[in-house]
Amino acid sequence: MSKLIFERSVEGRGCSLLPESPFERTELPARLCRGKAPRLPQITENDLCRHYTSLAQRSFGVNCGFYPLGSCTMKYNPKVNEVAASLEGFTEVHPYQPAYAVQGCLEVLDTAERYLCKITGMDAVTFQPAAGAHGEYTGLLLIKAYHHHRGEDHRNKIIVPDSAHGTNPASATMAGYAVVSIPSAPDGCVDLDALRAAAGPDTAGIMLTNPNTVGLFDRNILEITKIVHDAGGLCYYDGANLNAVMGIARPGDMGFDVVHLNLHKTFSTPHGGGGPGSGAVGCKELLTPFLPAGQVEKTGEGYRFAAPGECSIGRVKSFYGNFLVVVRALCYLLMLGCEGIPAAAQGAVLNANYMMKKLSSTYDIPYPGPCMHEFVMSLQSLKDDCSVSAMDIAKGLLDRGIHPPTMYFPLIVHEALMVEPTETESRETLNEAIDAFLALYEEAKENPQKLHEAPITTPVGRPDEVKAARSPVLRHRFGEE
């Protein structure tokens, strides 16, 4: 491992990055001053640059290579989004500025809301939530407020299929609900009988991802939402996989009442360490009275912030969410238009099916397609035959310059590798990745030991995950501590 910046620090070195203050210096009362100077690293500008450049070189992003991380939609982030988001009118504003002085910003929020309503079939969208799980939590608070308002606080259970993203049960628990997990049917979709058995007078709602995490569009979706509605519950759409159907099928038409969108996945804003994210939440009219504050409305004189409804759940984040992320997403929407958005979804589905087909004669595909935007392989038989696991194949991909797919998820598939190529990859890139997967399979059969030792080309090979989880080192300790 390379040194931390604190370990590079040498007493007395430094660089002056801050300009002289034009203001008169004010001495604080002694009781408000800290006793010791903060232990900031003392380092020259040159060493500082090298430190961060070396960190940047050791990271891997979509700009570096193929990144088929299933259920994460690691699509390319067009640079024009960055140009839009760096316009002064968006960056040099203050959240306390009066509405008349930030009409352009309000127009962005209003326009993005209208487009996303059209794509999801919802009636309103809030941009407050900072990311996906935050969006889930916000959506559940809307459901909770709805039931409370109707005097149905006894509805305390949220139904979640066992193929769900782990954030679903976690968000439901955070929102104060008990989680009822229902098994998937053999085809990987929701087991309708299990759902009927679980739905009842205590059902607050269901959380569902469609297409689901094995990459299949649930054919029974209308029946599923009807069963939940008939029981008096509401239907929550986890938008993690919207990329497969955006502009083609709408959650609102499937019967969902509330949906979160990961703008940082589906709408091409930076993702992962490059965030921040945005977990915009859309809802049907029956839930709009409960939306957080900060909705924009258009009047004869321009745009303004609407007063929050009496039943509003309040703010879930300061001000208007991660506004510049919304600017990027709107730029993406405008660049693609109403023809480009469905074309992107079709490209994502085509790319996934192309890869799956090419790999299906070698790797086991537990839910044979056609798939949607992603597919799942099981390496159980490879592990049984030559003790090469999904983890070993993933590590082998690193040596071939490819970010591994999602591993060991969904939980209902053993030794799972979940591949989501996205629409922004060329046929050449897909072919290279297919060749890498096939070559690794051969290698697993011929020389499994080599894969057990992979990766050999990366700065970090196989960290001790168990030790990291059981006794994490969460901060640097200075010598004298």
């Binding site: 782990g166 989680v179 997990s181 060991y408 998820f409 939980l411 995950e465 168990v466 989880a469 059981r470």
Partner: protein, 127 residues
């Protein structure tokens, strides 16, 4: 896969060891711990919690995933194995010794398998 002879088992791989007619300990089978791999964190119920059959009353986190533990019994939690909070690896090392919770005043239970039936169940699921 090791199956403890005098214990009873659920399809979701919990084991039940009856201490008396109305009191039992619940833990995770050898198969469960091996599927989850190294366990790094355990959430236990509170003493005095009332549980119903099928309730998720604890969860275990491994480097792979977080898994719910479902109560095979209805009753009251009379003790929890606090040692696991600091040493979750005991579940990997000694799955049939590392009980999670003790349940008293048992008023109901799901259909449990004995060791022979559970062995058969494991063999069938592997096919």
């Amino acid at each position: 896969m090791n199956v403890q002879k005098d214990y009873f088992y659920t399809k979701s791989h919990e084991w039940v060891q009856f201490l008396s007619e109305s009191t039992a300990r619940v833990g995770l089978s050898d198969y469960a711990q091996s599927e989850m791999s190294d366990i790094v964190f355990v959430n236990l119920p509170q003493e005095g919690d009332l549980v119903s059959v099928g309730d998720s009353f604890a969860d275990v986190e491994s480097v792979k995933a977080v898994s719910d533990v479902y109560s095979p019994l209805a009753g009251e939690v009379s003790a929890v194995n606090e040692e696991l909070l600091d040493s979750p690896q005991k579940i990997n090392e000694d799955p049939y010794g590392a009980w999670l919770a003790e349940i008293k005043d048992i008023s109901g239970k799901e259909e449990l398998m004995d060791a022979a039936e559970y062995e058969k169940f494991l063999a069938e699921s592997a096919e």
